[in-house]
């Protein structure tokens, strides 16, 4: 069976399968997924309905059938022979491909301390079921890692009246991807909601009664969740001799170092115009890279240049970040009815924006900011800071210029 083969049926792999059809490809498309379900969305996993973990499918089985996509579930790729254009699956069958997409995603980084096996991960539907089936009012959970996943989980657990401790090795929560101003506001909100933070402390051991920190103190917990980031799933590519680093290395068109093999989503580290490779971990990136990779597999030669964007919902607050804010950027603050926005300028040019507010109240402004960034404008700083000057007005004048 030649044709297109996609390894990984998460957001990226599944999106790519459909995008191949949208690009006009009419040959066989085979989508291989390790999990036992139909492809599903991960963001809803932390948003339980009552006590039930949501299984929000990316597509119904009928949609896969209608698009002529062969979906092989519960299987992974055991070996890739890029020279022969073939991939062997975990059940022994061999698929020959015309083009291959590696959408293997990322897996949670694991702790290495004594008792590390006691800590639960939070990435898959099964992980979510394992966590939420064991918690309830009055129970206590220690979350190791104060990144977006750990903090989102903390907010959901507080909503269920679960006692929460968050342990973080860095001096502050959310230090990696969230602008400092909004990281501080979210931290304060968590503290006000009763989350206890143990920052600047490592984990020495995990036992029956909780987590022992490197300073010798014990954080008592009925359940321990590890949320210390993810590692790209590069083992298959590495064993096949493809170029890897912090991810499967690709050129700007998402082509790997092997002929006819592409990579997209959390596993892909994409060559940048200024040199180096960047790997993104977000829902939208998984989709946009999948779409670019699929079009290129079908014969195009598009470079991937979508602006990074992610959101995080914690309590009733919504955070959105577009672009990559850097410490060296000039920051312009703008208040909004629903919260606050920050704009980030590099040498006068708008390159990133972020907002924190009630629910999705700032989504519209962030979307307009994305369009302003795409327009390549160098806005007037007073106008950017002035809430009475609509961003849509700025966009229209930028487009008319």
């Amino acid at each position: 069976m030649d044709g297109m083969v996609i390894i990984g049926a998460g957001e990226s792999g599944t999106r790519a399968a459909f995008a191949l059809r949208e690009a006009g490809y009419s040959g066989p498309v085979t989508l291989v997924g390790a999990e036992p379900h139909l492809p599903y969305e991960r963001p809803p996993l932390s948003k339980t309905i009552g006590d039930a973990v949501q299984m929000k499918l990316i597509c119904a089985a009928e949609a896969l059938d209608a698009a002529g996509i062969t979906y092989l579930k519960g299987l992974s790729a055991a070996e890739l022979d890029a020279g022969a254009g073939a991939v062997r699956l975990s059940d022994g069958r061999v698929l020959h491909y015309e083009k291959l997409l590696l959408a293997t995603g990322a897996r949670p980084r694991r702790l290495t301390c004594p008792g590390a096996a006691r800590a639960l991960d939070f990435r898959t539907h099964a992980d979510a079921e394992a966590i939420f089936s064991r918690v309830g009012p009055g129970r206590s959970v220690a979350i190791i890692g104060a990144g977006l996943i750990g903090m989102e989980l903390a907010s959901v657990l507080r909503g269920k009246d679960v006692s929460v401790d968050v342990i973080e090795a860095a001096p502050k929560p959310l230090g990696r991807a969230v602008p400092a101003r909004f990281a501080e506001k979210l931290h304060a909100r968590h503290a006000a909601e009763g989350v206890r933070f143990q920052v600047d402390r490592g984990v020495a051991a995990i036992g029956d009664d909780g987590v022992t920190l490197t300073d010798g103190s014990l954080v008592p917990a009925d359940l321990v969740v590890s949320a210390i980031g993810v590692l790209p799933d590069i083992a298959l590519a590495e064993a096949a001799g493809l170029a890897t680093g912090n991810g499967i290395l690709t050129d700007a068109c998402l082509r790997t170092s092997a002929p006819n093999v592409f990579a997209a989503g959390d596993c892909a580290a994409v060559a940048q115009p200024g040199g180096g490779h960047v790997r993104y971990e977000s829902w939208r990136n998984a989709r946009t890279q999948a779409e670019t990779a699929a079009r290129n597999m079908a014969g195009a030669a598009e470079t991937f240049g979508a602006l990074p964007w992610f959101w995080s919902d914690q309590y009733d607050l919504g955070l959105q970040v577009a672009g990559l804010p850097q410490p060296a950027h000039r920051i312009v603050l703008r208040s909004a009815a629903e919260g606050e926005l920050e704009f980030y300028l590099d040498d006068g040019r708008l390159v990133a924006a972020a907002g924190l507010g009630n629910g999705n109240g700032l989504a519209r402004d962030i979307k307009l900011a994305e369009m302003l960034i795409a327009a390549g404008i160098s806005p007037s700083l007073p106008e950017l800071a002035d809430p009475s000057v609509g961003l849509k007005t700025l966009l229209k004048s930028a487009r008319a210029a």
Binding site: P44, W311, N360, A363, K367
Partner: protein, 103 residues
């Protein structure tokens, strides 16, 4: 057809939308670039997000969460991940007041 008052046209930004709740349901009411008004079901068909928080440009509304988009005049889903059309309801402006027919 039962017409319900949904407030003043002046309270909706041109090329904007408001959320309108009535009878236990939520709707989105839009004011187009030409001051025409339209009404659709209030929640995105992809993941039940309030569309009134989304960006309105011309005759399109974009879901604030996943960037699915609809033509709010017809309810047609025009960008993934939204693939199911929105229900639409008649809307009109009488003496500066927006009225929608919800039944």
């Amino acid at each position: 057809m039962i017409w319900v008052s949904a407030g003043k046209l002046d309270d909706i930004e041109q090329e904007g939308a408001i959320r309108f709740d009535h009878g236990g349901r939520t709707y989105a009411i839009y004011r187009g670039p030409d001051d025409s008004v339209y009404c659709t079901a209030g929640l995105c068909t992809h993941e039940a997000i309030h569309l009134a928080d989304g960006l309105v440009m011309n005759f399109e509304v974009e879901c604030p969460k996943h960037s699915g988009a609809f033509d709010y005049r017809t309810g047609e889903a025009i960008r993934l991940p939204a693939c199911e059309n929105l229900k639409t309801y008649p809307a009109e402006v009488i003496d500066g007041e927006v009225r929608v027919a919800l039944a």
